[in-house]
């Protein structure tokens, strides 16, 4: 406290003072720097190292085998399916969330009554963990059973006479991962809505008025004025949703498991299975490393871009 006040009051001239200030800052930051160095970067390094070893049983074996684990991994049918699933999931999840989120934001932007209530309702799913979302949607998209007949969404379709829409959802190998997209979208689109809505509120009313005076329709205002101005928000949403979809795990575990023929399997689940059920630690470390790289490919350019623009401001 007194130190903080002193630092505001005292002009930064005395060399001795500067020294203690720096020292204090260093002491305060050091624990977290050390913890992060060991528990984040140290373990990343260890995992990467493990992926080049022969450690394929419970007890470690650190003899190096070069790229063999990676070669084997890309040869494995399950991993190939997983990579395909990740691509499908990421694309569908991004498109669905962005479109739905934007639409909801536009609707709420119309200065409707009870806006606060609606905002909370749409944002609430975010407060729930993926595990809970997964359990709920597992019930909703349950194809039904011999004993109970149709359940969940299928029962709804049956009741309203839309029988042709009934299907096996995540138990159908052709749908698989797409059923997971539905649940993930339900959870995250409210968040995208909140981001867009905040962005829209930041755009001055004068701009819209000017456009309207020039004869633009309301659709044209959103299409040509607001959407372009919201580009940074779209980029932010893509980054956040994108890295979430690459490492999605809990939702898949609680909702579908690997699914028939691994149709809803994802790399993170395969990593867990390989490492902790199959005790093939080297291979598991390989999958983890690939996951890290794929997330880094998405995140790092954004980090560089954002620090760059911040420095300019």
């Amino acid at each position: 406290m007194s130190m903080a006040q002193a630092s505001i009051a005292a002009p930064r001239k005395s060399k001795g003072w500067l020294k203690t200030d720096r020292l204090l800052a260093f002491v305060l930051i050091a624990p977290s720097v050390i913890a992060i160095a060991v528990f984040v970067y140290g373990f990343i390094g260890f995992t990467t190292f493990a992926s080049f070893t022969k450690w394929d049983a419970l007890l470690p074996d650190f003899s190096l085998v070069g790229w063999r684990n990676y070669e084997k991994l890309f040869d494995t049918t399950r991993f190939q399916i997983d990579l395909g699933n990740t691509v499908v999931f990421t694309i569908l999840f991004l498109i669905a969330c962005l479109m739905l989120g934007f639409m909801l934001a536009v609707l709420l932007d119309q200065r409707i009554r009870f806006e606060g209530l609606f905002r909370s309702v749409f944002l609430f799913p975010l407060a729930i963990s993926y595990i809970v979302t997964g359990v709920v949607w597992r019930w909703l998209l349950n194809p039904g059973s011999v004993q109970l007949g149709s359940t969940g969404v299928n029962l709804l379709f049956e009741k309203v006479g839309l029988d042709f829409l009934k299907n096996g959802w995540y138990t159908d190998p052709n749908i698989g991962i797409k059923a997971v997209v539905i649940a993930a979208t339900w959870q995250m689109s409210g968040y995208v809505m909140a981001m867009y809505l905040a962005g829209m509120r930041g755009i001055s009313e004068d701009l819209r008025e000017a456009a309207r005076v020039d004869g633009a329709t309301e659709v044209q205002v959103y299409r040509h004025i607001i959407l372009p101005l919201l580009q940074p928000i779209t980029l932010g949403a893509v980054i956040i949703l994108g890295h979430m979809s690459l490492k999605i795990f809990d939702l898949v575990v609680s909702m579908t498991g690997p699914g028939p023929g691994f149709s809803s399997d994802v790399p993170a689940f395969f990593m867990w299975d390989t490492t902790f059920r199959g005790n093939n630690f080297a291979q598991g470390a390989g999958i983890a490393t690939i996951l890290l790289i794929s997330v880094a490919v998405l995140i790092v350019p954004y980090l560089i871009y954002s620090t760059h623009t911040e420095a300019e401001v």
Partner: protein, 395 residues
């Protein structure tokens, strides 16, 4: 009379935390207490299905030099996971002094030996290759339990014509398909041929394996369409309400039927499996450097003893690994399994940890889970052969 132990503790590590498993374990603790009343038993269980969590904790403790006095491990190649020559004590002396080489079946003893030593003592046996069927459905349609694959397909056709699901399956968790296929492999290759698959004597490229895959593919064409959504017990509901005919599962299904108060079921070996017993077994091992050596040795002796196994198995719903248990303690199904146990050829289950070490067993399970949807015989056989190569068993 056994010599009284000098008190102290016995720390026993397992993943039996609930239901019949915990009851069985407590039964065995009681049998131990009777002989060694002054020893305090520390029950160090770690919860979690199939021991996933327990195994991880166990490794840390072994590795960190703080092992429990005895721990649970699936009998068979699972001990290989723990690098036995480095971390476990061979139990050859106890096997000899207790005369266990006479009371355990010979095939089981072969299965237990790894690097020429016994590392663990089996307490129970489960059978994996049982075909369960609905008695009502079979008598209504004047059918008999099929013995061969040809019989099976005939019965299946007859049931299909009646609108009954002939072959019920629930493969939601991913291991069930591998489980059924191992019984098909046994049924097609016979006991020796099947055992050879896991030791490198039988080639995975053998035409017999192709035949097994084709048999399995044909069987899959008779399953319920919602199999991917069901667990094995969920699929069992088909038998309960007479909508399904047959299901291949281990003998834990007997316990499940009992818990559902369902009695109208029959059982037979899976097609082609007559005279062969596909076994999995829980056993106890003793790590090197345990704190209470005498107590641990006595525990191993109790686990292998008649009294210990009779206290454990009726509660857990499995049969004794010994051949001299009192059969009247068990229900009708377990009695028939006990009889087969004494006379049949024994083969190890791969899905349940006896035939191959875990890395290989996992790869096998994945390959078969994929086969259910792909039905690609050639590609699956190539993958199975590759799994064997990756495991270092096949060249």
């Amino acid at each position: 009379m056994p010599k009284p132990a000098g008190g102290g503790k016995l720390e026993m590590f397992s993943w039996w935390t609930a239901g019949g498993e915990a009851d069985g374990l407590n039964g065995m603790f009681a049998a131990y207490k009777k002989q060694y009343p002054s020893v305090e038993i520390v029950n160090a269980t770690v919860a979690g299905g199939a021991g996933t969590n327990a195994k991880a904790v166990m490794t840390t403790r072994l590795f960190g030099g703080d092992p429990p006095d005895s721990f649970q491990v699936h009998a068979g190649l699972e001990v290989a996971t723990y690098t036995p020559d480095k971390y476990l004590q061979p139990l050859d002396d106890i096997f000899a002094s207790e005369g266990w080489d006479k009371v355990f079946p010979k095939d089981l003893l072969t299965l237990l030996k790894y690097q020429d030593h016994y590392w663990s003592v089996p307490v129970n046996i489960h059978r994996a290759n049982v075909m369960w069927y609905s008695k009502k459905v079979f008598t209504d349609n004047k059918l008999e339990a099929p013995k061969t694959f040809d019989d099976f397909f005939k019965v299946a056709d007859a049931l299909k014509a009646k609108g009954i699901v002939p072959f019920v399956m629930g493969d939601k968790e991913g291991w069930e398909s591998g489980h059924v296929f191992e019984t098909v492999l046994i049924g097609t290759l016979g006991a020796d041929g099947y055992r050879g698959l896991w030791t490198g004597k039988t080639a995975w490229t053998d035409p017999k394996v192709t035949e097994a895959l084709n048999n399995y593919k044909k069987m899959l064409s008779y399953t319920n369409t919602d199999h991917a959504a069901l667990t094995w017990d969920g699929a069992g509901e088909y038998l309960l309400n007479g909508k399904g005919g047959m299901q291949i599962m281990g003998d834990w299904q007997d316990g499940w039927f009992t818990s559902k108060k369902f009695t109208d079921y029959g059982w037979a070996p899976a097609p082609g499996n007559s005279g062969i017993f596909d076994a999995l077994s829980d056993s106890f091992a003793m790590p090197k450097g345990v704190k209470n050596t005498d107590n641990a040795k006595n525990w191993i002796k109790v686990a292998g003893s008649k009294a210990g196994q009779e206290a454990f198995n009726p509660k857990k719903g499995s049969i004794c690994a010994r051949t001299d248990c009192d059969q009247s303690l068990f229900n009708a199904y377990l009695q028939s399994a006990g009889k087969d146990w004494q006379s049949n050829a024994l083969v190890p289950s791969v899905v349940h940890g006896a035939a191959a070490f875990e890395k290989w067993a996992t790869a096998y399970k994945d390959t078969m889970a994929l086969f259910v949807t792909s039905g690609d015989v050639a590609k699956t056989q190539a993958a199975l052969a590759q799994n064997c190569k990756d495991a270092g068993v096949c060249k």
